[in-house]
C-alpha cells in the first residue's frame, strides 16, 4: 500500500464523504446557514465512522462567506458535531476553490505526518450572503450615535440622504473581480469571445448537464447526498436546481445577464447560486489500519496555477496540465474528469485550450497540444450548471463525486479541477487502489 506522494510524504487516503443536497437560492435567506449545512453533511458521515469524532486530529473547512456569527466556521462545526474541545479546526479561503483548498491542506498535513485523521471539505450558504450598508451610511450612523441632545439629532438627521439607504448586495460584490473590474460572468464572456464559443454550444452544454444530473438521480448515482431536515419538519433530499424539462429552445429565450443585450452568458448556462456543503474524511495509512477504515481512494497529487484574472475560467487548463506531465500521463490515462461548471462556456473553453497547439505552447509552455478530453468522461453526472456551485463547497464535492464515479465504473484514475475567481486554477488527482 505504501506509495509516496509527490510532495514527499506518506500516502493519504479518502475514507468516505457526504454532502448535502445543493439547494437553489430563491431570493431570500435559505433554511440553513453555512454551519448548519456543514453539520448536515458531517453528522451522518461521522455517525458511520468506526472512530469517535473526538479521535479526529483536525477539521478543515473551506468557506468564502461565513455568516457574521460564524468566525472560523470550521471550529464551530467541529464543536457542534461533537468533536469535543481538543480537536483543532481552521477555515481556509481560496475563493471558488476553498473546499478543494481544505482537502489540499488536509492532504498535506497527513502526508507530512502532522495529522492522521482529518475531516475536511467546504460549505457555503450563498443565500445568507449579507446585505451591507454603504460607507456613507456607516459614517452617518457613527455621527448619529455620538448625538446627545435632540438638537444634535435633528442637525445630523438633516444630513441623511436617501441614497445612503441603498444596501450593497454582498454576493454580487463577492462575484466581481475588483482588480480587473469584471464580474465573473464577464470573464466567461471573454472566453466565449476568445475561443469563438457560440450561445448555442453553451446552451447545449447546459441542457446536457441537466440531462446527466437527471439520469444520475434516477439511477441513484448520488449516494453521497445526505438528507437535510429543518426545524419546521421539512425534508430536503435532492439537488433542487435540476430542470428535467430543459431544452435548447427554452434556454435560447433567456437574456444575457452579465453583458446585457449583446452577451452570451445567461442564467441558464451559468452555475446556479446554491447553498450546500461537502465533507470528506481523510486518513493516513496508520489510521486506516488502526480503525479498519474503508477506503474510497487515494489523493495522488494536487496543483495550483495562476493566470490572467480576466480569463479566470481557464484555470483548470493551467492547473491540470502540470499534473499530467509530472506523472508522465496523457489524456487517455485519466479515466474520468470533473471540471466544475462555473459557466458552460468556461468548461468548453478549457477543452478548447487543450486542443489548441497555440494555447498549449504559448500559455502552458508545452511543446504541442494536449488533445481533446472525451465528453463522455467529463462531468458525466452533471455539474454546477444543473446542481449549482456553492462556492466554498464545490471543490470538495467534485473530488468526492469523482471517486464515486471511478468506483461505479470500476475505473482507476481521475482529475477534479475548478476555476477560481481572481485568476487561478486548482486540480487534484485521485486514484482507486
Amino acid at each position: 500500500m505504501t506509495q509516496h506522494t509527490p510532495i514527499g510524504g506518506r500516502p493519504v487516503f479518502v475514507v468516505d464523504g457526504s454532502r448535502t443536497p445543493f439547494l437553489k437560492v430563491k431570493g431570500r435567506p435559505g433554511p440553513f446557514r453555512a454551519s448548519d449545512l456543514a453539520l448536515g453533511a458531517a453528522r451522518p458521515l461521522l455517525a458511520r465512522m468506526p472512530f469517535e469524532p473526538a479521535e479526529l486530529d483536525e477539521v478543515i473547512l473551506g468557506c468564502v462567506m461565513p455568516g457574521p456569527d460564524e468566525a472560523n466556521i470550521a471550529r464551530i462545526v467541529a464543536l457542534r458535531a461533537g468533536c469535543g474541545q481538543r480537536v483543532t479546526a481552521w477555515t481556509v479561503q481560496r475563493n471558488c476553490a476553498s473546499g478543494m483548498q481544505a482537502l489540499d491542506c488536509a492532504y498535506s498535513n497527513i502526508a507530512n505526518g502532522r495529522s492522521e485523521l482529518i475531516l475536511a471539505g467546504g460549505t457555503e450558504s450563498m443565500s445568507h450572503a449579507p446585505l451591507l450598508l454603504s460607507t456613507e451610511m456607516v459614517t452617518w450612523l457613527a455621527e448619529w450615535n455620538k448625538c446627545k441632545t435632540i438638537g444634535q439629532r435633528i442637525h445630523v438627521l438633516r444630513h441623511l440622504k436617501p441614497k445612503y439607504l441603498q444596501p450593497i448586495i454582498g454576493l454580487l460584490r463577492g462575484l466581481t473581480d475588483p482588480v480587473v473590474g469584471l464580474s465573473m460572468g464577464q470573464t466567461a464572456e471573454n472566453l466565449a469571445h476568445r475561443f469563438s464559443i457560440s450561445r448555442l454550444r453553451m446552451d447545449e452544454f447546459a441542457v446536457n448537464s441537466h440531462l446527466r444530473l437527471g439520469r444520475a438521480q434516477d439511477e441513484g448515482y448520488l449516494r453521497e447526498i445526505e438528507t437535510l431536515y429543518d426545524a419546521a419538519g421539512k425534508v430536503y433530499a435532492q439537488d433542487d436546481g435540476l430542470r428535467r424539462d430543459s431544452t435548447v429552445d427554452k434556454l435560447a429565450t433567456l437574456a444575457p445577464v452579465f453583458d446585457r443585450k449583446f452577451g452570451h452568458v445567461t442564467a441558464g448556462n451559468s452555475a446556479q447560486v446554491t447553498d450546500g456543503a461537502a465533507l470528506l474524511v481523510l486518513a493516513s495509512e496508520q489510521a486506516v489500519d488502526k480503525y479498519k477504515l474503508p477506503v474510497l481512494g487515494r489523493i495522488v497529487d494536487s496543483q495550483w496555477a495562476g493566470l490572467d484574472p480576466s480569463q479566470m475560467g481557464l484555470g483548470p487548463a493551467h492547473a491540470m496540465a502540470p499534473l499530467l506531465s509530472r506523472h508522465g500521463l496523457t489524456i487517455p490515462d485519466i479515466d474520468y474528469w470533473e471540471i466544475n461548471e462555473a459557466f458552460a462556456t468556461q468548461v468548453l473553453a478549457c477543452v478548447e485550450a487543450w486542443k489548441s497547439a497555440d494555447y498549449c505552447r504559448n500559455e502552458l509552455g508545452l511543446s504541442d497540444a494536449l488533445g481533446e478530453i472525451d465528453n463522455e468522461r467529463l462531468n458525466i453526472d452533471g455539474g454546477g450548471v444543473s446542481l449549482g456551485h456553492p462556492v466554498g463547497a464545490s471543490g470538495a464535492r467534485i473530488v468526492l463525486h469523482l471517486l464515486q464515479v471511478l468506483a461505479r465504473n470500476n475505473a482507476r484514475r481521475g482529475i477534479a479541477s475548478l476555476c477560481i475567481g481572481g485568476g487561478q486554477g486548482g486540480a487534484m488527482m485521485v486514484e482507486r487502489l
Binding site: P44, A47, G233
Partner: protein
C-alpha cells in the same frame, strides 16, 4: 481569619480582615443543605454570637456544590405529633430569623443552586440577596406542592418584598425561578456570574445601597378596601386548578394574607398556626408521602454505574420521536431511525418546538437539535449505549428487527423496547442474549409524564434492570421496575377504570358527568376525555389484549362501535366528544342531568380492585411502589397518597364490602380480588 469557639457541625462562622462575618452552611452527613431542627438551633447560636459581637457585615453562603439550601427538612414534618408541636417549631424558627433580620449590620445571602422553601425564607430574612446566574440556580417557594405554605416567615417577607401579585404567584404555583427571573421580580438584588458571587456579596456589605422599596400601588393592594377584591380574584384563579377540599393550602395562604396584610407581626403568628394546621392534615401528609415515594423512585438504579452517551431510537412515531427528543434535551447524542426521512421529519419538528419551549436560548436550542441526528440508515446502532425500539406493536416485526440489531450492537449496550402490550417473553426468542432485553415503557406525552416502567421478564439480567433504571434517572425520569405481565402496571390498572367509564356512558350517563365525577375524586382528567386523548383505537387494542390475558376486562361494545365508525378520539377530532381546536366540546352540566349514585365507586373500585390483583401478582415489589407508579404514571389523586394508601384510609373491609355489593348489582367484574382478604387478615 478566626474560627469561633462554639462547636459547629452545620454552620461555620469566620471573620475576615475587613471585619465581615462569613457564615457558611455545610450540613453534616448529607450532600444537600436542609433546615432540620438541629440546623436551626445551631443557627440560633451563631446569630446570638453575632448579636453579642456585631461584625461589619454578614454574608451567608453555602459550602455545598449543589446549592444554597434546598428547604426545610421534610422528614421532620412527618414526625410531628400535634398542631401545637408544629406551631411551636415554626415560632422557634421565626424567633431566629427575626433576630437575624434585625442585625444592625448589612446582611447578604449569596445564593447558588437550590434556594427553595425554607432556604429562600432564610435569604429573605437577610437585607440583600445575590445569586449565581447559572442555569442551575433555582429560587422558589414550592411548599404548596407538599400541601402546605411557607412557614418560616416566607409569606409575610415575600409579599413585603415584591408585592402581593408576584409573591402569591410564586407561592401558589410553587414554580422555581432562575436567578435572572428572580432579579427581575426584585426577589434578589443581583444575578451575577459565579465568578463574581462572593465579590458582589462583599461589595454589598462594604457599600450597602438603599434597600428596595415596594412601589406605592403594590403597597396599596394591602389596604383593607382593596384586599377582599384581590383575595376573591386570587381564589377564583386557584379554584380553576385546585379544589379547596382536596388542596386547602393555597386557600389558606390567601386567607392568611387577607386576615393580616397590614400587620407583619400578626401575620407571622398566624402563619405558624396556619401551616401547623395544614401540615397535620390529610392532604399535606399524603402529599409529603408522595414526595418520599418520588425520592424512593429516584433512588432506583443508584447502585449502577451505567452512564449512556449515545442513544439510538428506532421508530420516529409519536412515542419514539418524543423519546428521542427528550434524550437529546437531556444532553445525550441521539440517532433516530425510521424507514424514510419523511417519517423522521415530523419528529424533528416536534423536537424543535420542545427545545424552544424548554431551553428558550437559541444557542441551547441549536445544540439540542445538533444532538438529535436523523438516521435512516441506522448508522447509530454500533455506537449506541442504549437502543430503544419504538416501532408498531407487532411481535414478528419486532423480532425481525432484533435479529438484525443484535449482531451490530456494542457489548454491554441495553436493548430496550417501548412496547405497551407485548410481553418480553414473546420477543426474546429472536435474541442470542435474551437477558439483555428490557422494557422502557414511557408514557404519552413523554415530556410531561415522569414515570418510566422498567419491564423485566424472568430472563432479564438483574444488572440490566439496574442499568435501565440508571438510564431513566440519567434522563430525569422516575424508573419503576415491573414484571412483564400484560399491561405491566399502569395500563393494567387504568384500563378497567376506563372501560367502566365507557360502560357507564353506554348505559346513558352523560360523558361530562362521568368526567366530572372522576375529577371530583381527584383525577387530573376524566376517563372519557382520557380515552379520547389516548386514542380509542389504542384503548381498544390494549383492552382486547388485556381482556384475553386477564379475562376480567370485557370490552364494551360501544368502544368497538366508535372505532369502527372511525371515531378515534382527539387525534381525528371525533371520539366520545367532538373536538374544536383540539379541545372537547362539552355540554353545560344542568340540574336535569342525572347521575347514578354509584358512578365514582364503580370507576374507582375497579381501579382499586385491579391494583389489588397487581399486588397479589407481584407486578411491583410492594404497596408503596404500586402507589408511586399509579400516581406518577396516571396522575391519580396525589392528595390521596396512592390507590392502596387510599384503600387503607377508607378501610379495607368497607371497600371490599362495597365491591361485593357492586358485583351483585352489576356483574362479576366487581368480584373482589383475593388480595383484599389477605390484606384484611394481616
Amino acid at each position: 481569619m478566626t474560627e469561633s469557639n462554639t462547636t459547629s457541625c452545620h454552620w461555620h462562622l469566620e471573620r475576615d480582615q475587613a471585619g465581615i462575618a462569613w457564615l457558611r452552611i455545610d450540613v453534616a452527613d448529607g450532600n444537600v443543605n436542609v433546615l432540620s431542627l438541629a440546623v436551626i438551633s445551631e443557627l440560633q447560636q451563631k446569630v446570638d454570637e453575632l448579636v453579642r459581637n456585631p461584625p461589619r457585615g454578614l454574608i451567608i453562603h453555602s459550602g455545598k456544590p449543589n446549592g444554597f439550601i434546598a428547604g426545610a427538612d421534610i422528614k421532620s414534618f412527618l414526625g410531628m405529633k400535634s398542631e401545637q408541636e408544629a406551631a411551636e417549631f415554626m415560632r422557634g424558627v421565626h424567633t431566629v430569623f427575626d433576630r437575624l433580620e434585625s442585625l444592625s449590620c448589612p446582611t447578604v445571602a449569596a445564593i447558588h443552586g437550590f434556594c427553595l422553601g425554607g432556604g429562600l425564607e432564610l435569604a429573605l430574612a437577610c437585607h440583600y440577596r445575590v445569586a449565581d446566574e447559572d442555569q442551575g440556580t433555582r429560587i422558589g417557594l414550592p411548599e404548596v406542592l407538599l400541601g402546605i405554605h411557607p412557614g418560616f416567615g416566607g409569606t409575610m417577607r415575600s409579599i413585603r418584598l415584591i408585592g402581593v401579585p408576584a409573591a402569591m404567584d410564586l407561592m401558589l404555583s410553587g414554580r422555581p425561578l432562575s436567578a435572572r427571573a428572580a432579579a427581575k421580580l426584585g426577589l434578589i438584588d443581583h444575578a451575577v456570574p459565579q465568578r463574581h458571587l462572593l465579590r458582589a456579596a462583599r461589595m454589598l456589605v462594604l457599600d450597602p445601597p438603599q434597600r428596595r422599596q415596594l412601589k406605592p400601588w403594590l403597597k396599596s393592594l394591602n389596604l383593607p378596601l382593596l384586599r377582599p377584591l384581590l383575595a376573591r380574584y386570587l381564589r377564583r384563579q386557584v379554584a380553576s386548578r385546585a379544589n379547596r377540599e382536596h388542596y386547602p393550602a393555597p386557600y389558606a395562604m390567601i386567607d392568611l394574607w387577607e386576615r393580616n396584610a397590614s400587620d407583619p407581626k400578626s401575620m407571622l403568628a398566624d402563619e405558624a398556626a396556619s401551616v401547623a394546621h395544614l401540615v397535620m392534615g390529610d392532604s399535606a401528609q399524603n402529599l409529603i408521602r408522595v414526595f418520599f415515594l418520588q425520592e424512593r423512585l429516584k433512588a432506583a438504579g443508584r447502585d449502577s454505574r451505567f452512564k449512556a452517551q449515545r442513544v439510538h431510537v428506532i421508530g420516529a412515531g409519536v412515542m419514539g420521536g418524543d423519546i428521542a427528543a427528550w434524550c437529546a434535551l437531556q444532553g445525550l447524542m441521539v440517532t433516530l431511525q425510521d424507514q424514510s426521512p419523511e417519517r423522521i421529519a415530523p419528529a424533528v419538528k416536534r423536537a424543535a418546538q420542545l427545545f424552544s419551549k424548554k431551553l428558550k436560548q437559541p444557542r441551547l436550542v441549536q445544540a439540542a437539535l445538533d444532538r438529535l441526528i436523523p438516521d435512516v440508515a441506522g448508522q447509530g446502532v454500533p455506537h449506541a449505549d442504549v437502543i430503544i425500539e419504538a416501532i408498531f406493536e407487532n411481535a414478528e416485526a419486532k423480532q425481525a428487527l432484533y435479529r438484525t440489531l443484535e449482531p451490530r450492537m456494542k457489548p454491554g449496550a441495553i436493548l430496550a423496547t417501548n412496547t405497551s402490550s407485548i410481553p418480553l417473553q414473546t420477543l426474546t426468542p429472536a435474541l442470542q442474549h435474551p437477558q439483555r432485553l428490557v422494557g422502557l415503557h414511557f408514557f404519552n406525552p413523554v415530556a410531561k409524564m415522569q414515570l418510566v416502567e422498567i419491564v423485566h421478564s424472568p430472563q432479564t439480567d438483574e444488572q440490566v434492570v439496574r442499568d435501565a433504571s440508571a438510564f431513566a434517572r440519567q434522563i430525569g425520569k422516575l424508573p419503576l421496575a415491573v414484571t412483564s405481565t400484560p399491561g405491566f402496571l399502569v395500563n393494567r390498572i387504568l384500563m378497567p377504570y376506563l372501560l367502566e367509564a365507557v360502560e357507564l356512558e353506554s348505559e346513558g350517563v352523560r360523558p361530562e358527568l362521568i368526567d366530572r365525577a372522576a375529577v371530583a375524586f381527584g383525577m387530573p382528567m376524566g376517563p372519557i376525555e382520557l380515552a379520547d386523548t389516548v386514542g380509542l383505537d389504542i384503548c381498544l387494542s390494549v383492552a382486547e389484549i388485556l381482556g384475553q390475558s386477564l379475562g376480567n376486562a370485557r370490552v364494551p361494545a360501544r368502544l368497538r362501535a366508535l372505532v369502527s365508525e372511525g371515531r378515534l378520539g382527539r387525534k381525528n377530532g371525533q371520539g366520545f366528544y367532538s373536538y374544536r381546536n383540539g379541545e372537547p366540546v362539552k355540554a353545560r352540566i344542568s340540574a336535569g342531568m342525572t347521575l347514578p349514585a354509584d358512578v365514582t365507586d364503580r370507576m374507582m373500585l375497579r381501579l382499586l380492585n385491579e391494583a389489588m390483583a397487581c399486588l397479589r401478582g407481584h407486578v411491583v415489589e410492594d404497596e408503596d411502589l404500586l402507589d408511586a407508579g399509579i400516581i406518577f404514571g396516571t396522575g391519580f389523586a396525589p392528595f390521596r397518597g396512592g390507590p392502596l394508601h387510599h384503600v387503607r384510609e377508607r378501610g379495607i373491609s368497607a371497600l371490599r364490602g362495597r365491591l361485593e355489593e357492586l358485583a351483585r348489582n352489576h356483574g362479576a367484574r366487581f368480584t373482589p380480588d383475593e388480595e383484599w382478604q389477605r390484606l384484611q387478615a394481616l
